[in-house]
Subunit: 302 residues, 4 copies
């Protein structure tokens, strides 16, 4: 039987015409993993990218040709071995464009990418360590529209110290030790602090370039503190103390990021979409604290 297979005219079930059916908003494949070569300023790096890719499907077509999704991805990934892609959002746009070419029945495509990413950070003591982040990218293409939508983003693990408990404990401490009140009035106090995971995604208009490393810097600066793999005693003390001089609610982290974005990207147009999210894995609760803003630069500039 296997030898016969090639000579038989096989039925194209997906292309079957349907009546009385419904169009579908998203049809595609999820959780595809591929290594992609990406050009960084100084060198080529390999990112292990997890991909979800979709097209829409008209009511008249029974199925999407799922193998074409992977063929599009593979052609681009193969090409990246010879010519590294410029960035993850350019990769996502390229896939979205090619999906529309291959799925001739589709009017829209959407691509979501994520990948582990490493960046060297320096500690107060001068020690360097390689920190782990997540890169995110998204692109949408619409048939007949020259301009695609694409976004670049980062997910950053950092540290948040709570401003509320700190002021409560300040009251407690000065009540019990009034002698130290004046001496310590500007000194940070004990509070609960915890691991915080914050995400920033921003639309990248055509002909603009947004550097993921800048987004990481913005998010880390908006938390109470970045986190570090290696912390010898003196560095650990400084990082923890510094974090307590910048106590932050998740609400504060989101707003700080928005403020940074406004300052950093003054030349980006008003219709650029920005999504910011911050979640703290509260050390005093079993649940998480969460804050989010979905907006445009125009709205923020009002």
């Amino acid at each position: 039987m296997p030898s016969a297979g090639g000579r038989i005219n096989l039925p194209d079930i997906q292309a079957k015409k349907l009546n009385n059916s419904f169009k579908l908003t998203h049809v595609g494949i999820t959780n595809v993993k591929k290594p992609v070569n990406v050009q960084r300023p100084e060198r080529v790096i390999t990112l292990n990218v997890t991909m979800d890719v979709f097209v829409d499907l008209p009511a008249t077509q029974k199925g999407s040709h799922m193998s074409r999704h992977v063929e599009v991805i593979n052609a681009i990934v193969d090409e990246s071995v010879r010519k590294p892609v410029q960035s993850l959002e350019v990769l996502s746009e390229e896939i979205a464009t090619k999906l529309l070419e291959r799925h001739e029945y589709a009017s829209k495509s959407e691509v979501n990418l994520s990948s582990d990413y490493f960046l060297e950070k320096q500690l107060p003591s001068g020690v360097k360590c390689l920190e782990n982040y997540k890169l995110l990218a998204m692109a949408k293409a619409v048939r007949g529209q020259k301009i695609n939508t694409k976004m670049i983003g980062v997910e950053v693990v950092g540290m948040n110290a709570c401003p509320c408990a700190m002021e409560t404990i300040r009251e407690f401490l000065f009540h019990d030790h009034p002698k130290c009140k004046n001496e310590l009035k500007d000194v940070p106090m004990i509070t609960h602090n915890q691991r915080n995971i914050s995400t920033l995604m921003i639309e990248v208009p055509s002909n603009y370039l947004i550097e993921a490393d800048d987004l990481i810097a913005i998010v880390e600066d908006s938390m109470s503190s970045p986190t570090f793999e290696i912390l010898k005693r003196a560095d650990e003390g400084k990082v923890v103390y510094q974090a307590h001089t910048k106590p932050r609610f998740v609400e504060d982290v989101v707003r700080e990021i928005l403020l940074h974005i406004l300052k950093k990207y003054k030349d980006l147009p008003d219709d650029v979409v920005v999504t910011v999210r911050s979640e703290s894995e509260e050390s005093i609760h079993k649940h998480n604290a969460f804050a989010e803003r979905k907006t445009t630069l125009g709205e923020l500039r009002e």
Copy 2:
């Protein structure tokens, strides 16, 4: 110090007034788990509900009072011990309403709930077994609007058999064994089949009642087959064979569910939102196949 705590006037950091700040779309807590008593037609059951609850936050207010979110939840959960809630979507609406009462600065609230759920199913042989599902509910309240939005939903694990590979293999088999072509022309053939996870959420207008058990029945009927915990040999053969008489792409599952919804809920208004999603953990690939439709009953009825 602890004893002193109560007598000190503690600062309300969250209520701090801000200038030059940004409003936030969602502020709240995620991953709260609570046992809730729910009234079913025949008896009271206890659901272990995982909750994400949010309000929006105006630019002028530094923080949301996170503890009020839990207080709202707890008051309702406590009350359910005495008087079981009617359903998960009624619970979500009640929490959304109370969140707006307690967060006087918020203009909107949103609640997402999910819970394990068990339902007795009967096999061809008459054997009964308790199958596991997930119940979903969502509610949104807007200050000043009398009517809230609420949705009920289910996540169902079932089985999908691929229509495409089946027809390819039919061609192979009849090519190699032409004698059986006529005899077996209506008999299903070998194909790949796999675990499928499908989700259906539907808006519940005020004064309407949608039964989650009906949604589970709709989703299971739209797959190649439901799955069962216990399958003795004859039942197993029948379930597997039956599944192959109903081969389904993820696209087919979503469209079948939409068709069932149209037939079952003829009296629901046109603006009712419906979301249907189907994901197959493909046995022949390492990635998943995915299809989705977000729509309204009105759009579907066109």
Copy 3:
């Protein structure tokens, strides 16, 4: 075809005799979910239990009859509706025993159970809230041995404050503010703190009863602090401050639990197995800190 099914003599593939094969250590099913009624001192509660159940398989037998695993589980779960099980470890032992009865070719069986669990806790202010824990149970049965092995356990989410950073910051603070050195010499200092997940499992000999609520109390007392769903400002201040008066490494948590176990269970025999594990989701790192001890009461008593 379906109607014919029942009258056909179906082949028992699993029972096929094999030569030149290998025995298997564990054969069974994982991730089975069932609601089980459990008798607590004051009332009957329903636990949603996730189950992994196994038997061994001799080299001569092709397959384990997987459906028998579920039949054993279902019979016991059904029975619990009429007569609630005494505890999760008794349930695990009962399943392990019945598995050996039904799988006549097996010489050993093993059962692992876990379940969400809720317990009411009281705050310094008197406010009560329902906290979420995980119950664990394990049982092993060996054919021909009268006595089975069974363990009960708990997984607890709490809070850990780091002793090391606290002392570093104390040095910093007293160096910069020598006036406060004497006044604040016994006062806890700023440090990093974080969510900690600790697990305790202990063997339950026949005729002994170990109460899961006691294990939860032991684990919570061994951390810097338990966590609470609701914390109004004064309670929050007290909980955070108290946690800082008990700074703990993960190593300390494990040792504290071991010490508590020795004191609490003086009458348990020396061969009782104890496993203790503590993992802190470090707020200053992206990785976790981890400590573990697997031992017997006899070893601890040396």
Copy 4:
């Protein structure tokens, strides 16, 4: 304060001497992610490795110096930029050895590594695609012992077709269509098939080399079929049909792997440890089927 930090003599809390304490079996850090350059026959590849590393801790020492764990990892990872490591198991052994050097109080160390990995596979049609696997490695070092233990392993996603349902359906079909009985007596029948995840780990004695690619080939050959990212219609038909000519229980997969291991590694000594595990995400059930054997080559050779 920050400037002062460096000049202060900071306390070493971890080194504190304890009485009446307990030794700990494992103390370390989990979920550390690092990119590591690894030498493959044809080229250098970068693996994103997730690491869990531990030492034991004597009763007399309060804490392990957690930062030393990361320093050991970082020194080796940095070195791999200049001189790529030979393999993941050599990396794990190197870390285990260095951990004992840096933690002078420890008598044992243990390292567990895992990493995504890609390998090119060819389809019947000649199409090539890059498939995703997981590499695993483990090493243990004991102070005073010249020889460490190290293991290499792979986790492979493939496809399993059930032998039991196939024979049941064969009986059904031949009962209803006796004419085809002789013609189709050697042809595979419909059955349920599903995604299967199998793991193989094997000890690598000093001076032996075991190639991870060989382990992947062994596991894929032991399943009903490997899986492929791209399958055009004819390839899809062949892969699915071929899988049905090799129906396999999870029990069969584990035994096939053991058989392959015995044949392939005839020169490995008897005390080499082997662990094999196979889990099928059953398409007809909501739970998984599972089989495992932990053994030595000596036991298998009996």
